[in-house]
Subunit: 227 residues, 2 copies
C-alpha cells in the first residue's frame, strides 16, 4: 500500500469512529429525553442530527476521492467499500435517534403514560449492538460481528413484545391511543437501529473475509481450508 | 473507457433495471394483496423477496469486481458508486414490500376494517416516485431526479394524514386497535419506500453531476458557469 493511501485510510478510520461516537451519544440522549421527559434534550438531538448528516457526506466524498485517486485493490478496496456502507448505516441511525427525540419531545408535553418494561430491554439491546458493531469494526473482528447478527433476533422479539403491550394499553384505555402510538414508533425506531448495527456487523465480516453474509448467507465462520 | 468495462457497465445497467422491475412488481402485488385481502398474493411477495436479496448480493459483488479489475475513474467510477447505493435502496424497498405483504396477510385473516382514503394516495405517490426514480436512472436525468426529491414532502404529508385517521379510528373503536396498528405500519412502510426512491434520485444527481445533494444540500440545479 502506498504510504499516502495508508495515511488517508487511517484518517478515514478516525472519522468513522468520531461519527460512531456522535451517533451513540445521539441515541443515548434521545432515550434519556424520552425517559426523563426532557424537551430540551430532545431538541438538542434533533438539531445535532445535521452535524451527523454533514459528516456522512464528507466521509462519502472522501471515499470516492480515495477510490479515484489511489485505485485501491484487495483489502484496501474492501475497507473503503465497507466504510461507504457503514457510513450510510450510521447516518440512518442518527436519523432514527432524531426520530426518537421527536417522539420524546411530543410525549414530554403530554400527561405521562406507562412505558412498557420491554422498551428498556430493547433500548439496552440496541445500544449494546451499536457499541459492539463499532468495536468489531475497529478491531476487524469477524467473529464478534457474527455474534451481533445473531443478537438481532432478540431485538426483534423485544420489539414484538413492546408492540403487544402497547396494543393492550390502547385497547383498554382509548384515551392513551395518540401517546401510545408514539411509544409504538419509538420501539420501531429502536428495532431499526438494531438492524443498522447488524448491517454494520455484516460489513465488517465482508471487510475482513471478503465475503457477503447478508440475508442469512454465510453466517457460520469459514471452514479452515484443507491443506 | 476500455471496451470490456463498457460491456460490463451495460450488463450492470441491465441487472439494476431487472431488479427495479422486480421491486416495482413486489410493491404493486403487496398493495393489491392488502386491498383485495388476498393471502396467497401476500405470501408470493414474501417468498419472492429472497430473489431480490440474492440479486442485491450479486450486483454488489459485480460492482466490487469491476472496481478491483478495471479501477475505473471519473464518470465510470461515479456510475458504479451510484449503482452500489441504488442497489442497496432497491433491496430495502423489496423488504418494505415484503413487510407490507406481511401486514396484508394478517389483515386478510381478520374482519375487515375501513382503510383511510389517504393510504391510496400515499400508495400512488410512493409507486410514482419509485417508477420515476428508475426512469431518471435510465435516462441519467438529474432534473427529473430533483423533482422526485421535492415529491417526498407530499408522501410525508399523506403518511401523517393516514396516521391521524388511524388514531381516530383506534380511539373511537378500541376493538380495531390491533388491526389498525397494521394499517399504521403499512403507511410507515410506504413512506419509507418513498424515502428510498428519494435516495435513488439523489444518487442519480450524484452520478450525473458528481454532486452529493443529500440532506437538502444542492437541491437547486447547478448554475451555468460564467464563460
Amino acid at each position: 500500500m502506498s504510504r499516502h493511501l495508508e495515511i488517508e485510510i487511517e484518517r478515514l478510520n478516525k472519522r468513522i469512529l468520531t461519527m460512531g461516537e456522535a451517533v451513540v451519544e445521539a441515541i443515548q440522549k434521545a432515550l434519556r429525553a424520552l425517559q426523563e421527559r426532557r424537551a430540551e434534550l430532545a431538541r438538542e438531538v434533533m438539531e445535532g442530527d445535521r452535524r451527523i448528516d454533514s459528516a456522512e457526506v464528507e466521509v462519502e466524498e472522501e471515499c470516492l476521492k480515495l477510490l479515484a485517486l489511489y485505485q485501491p485493490v484487495a483489502e484496501d478496496l474492501r475497507f473503503i467499500a465497507a466504510v461507504m456502507k457503514i457510513n450510510s448505516d450510521m447516518e440512518r441511525m442518527g436519523d432514527e435517534a432524531a426520530n426518537i427525540a421527536g417522539h420524546a419531545l411530543f410525549l414530554a408535553g403530554q400527561d405521562p403514560i406507562p412505558v412498557p418494561p420491554r422498551l428498556k430491554d430493547l433500548s439496552e439491546a440496541a445500544m449494546r449492538m451499536v457499541r459492539e458493531s463499532l468495536a468489531a469494526f475497529v478491531k476487524g473482528d469477524a467473529e464478534a460481528s457474527r455474534r451481533i447478527c445473531a443478537e438481532d433476533d432478540e431485538a426483534d422479539q423485544y420489539n414484538r413484545e413492546v408492540i403487544n403491550s402497547v396494543w393492550k394499553m390502547m385497547s383498554a384505555e382509548p384515551q392513551t391511543v395518540e401517546r401510545a402510538t408514539h411509544l409504538f414508533s419509538v420501539s420501531r425506531h429502536l428495532e431499526r437501529i438494531a438492524d443498522h448495527a447488524t448491517n454494520i456487523a455484516e460489513d465488517v465480516v465482508y471487510m475482513v473475509e471478503g465475503k457477503i453474509i447478508r440475508h442469512g448467507a454465510g453466517l457460520s465462520p469459514p471452514k479452515p481450508e484443507a491443506s
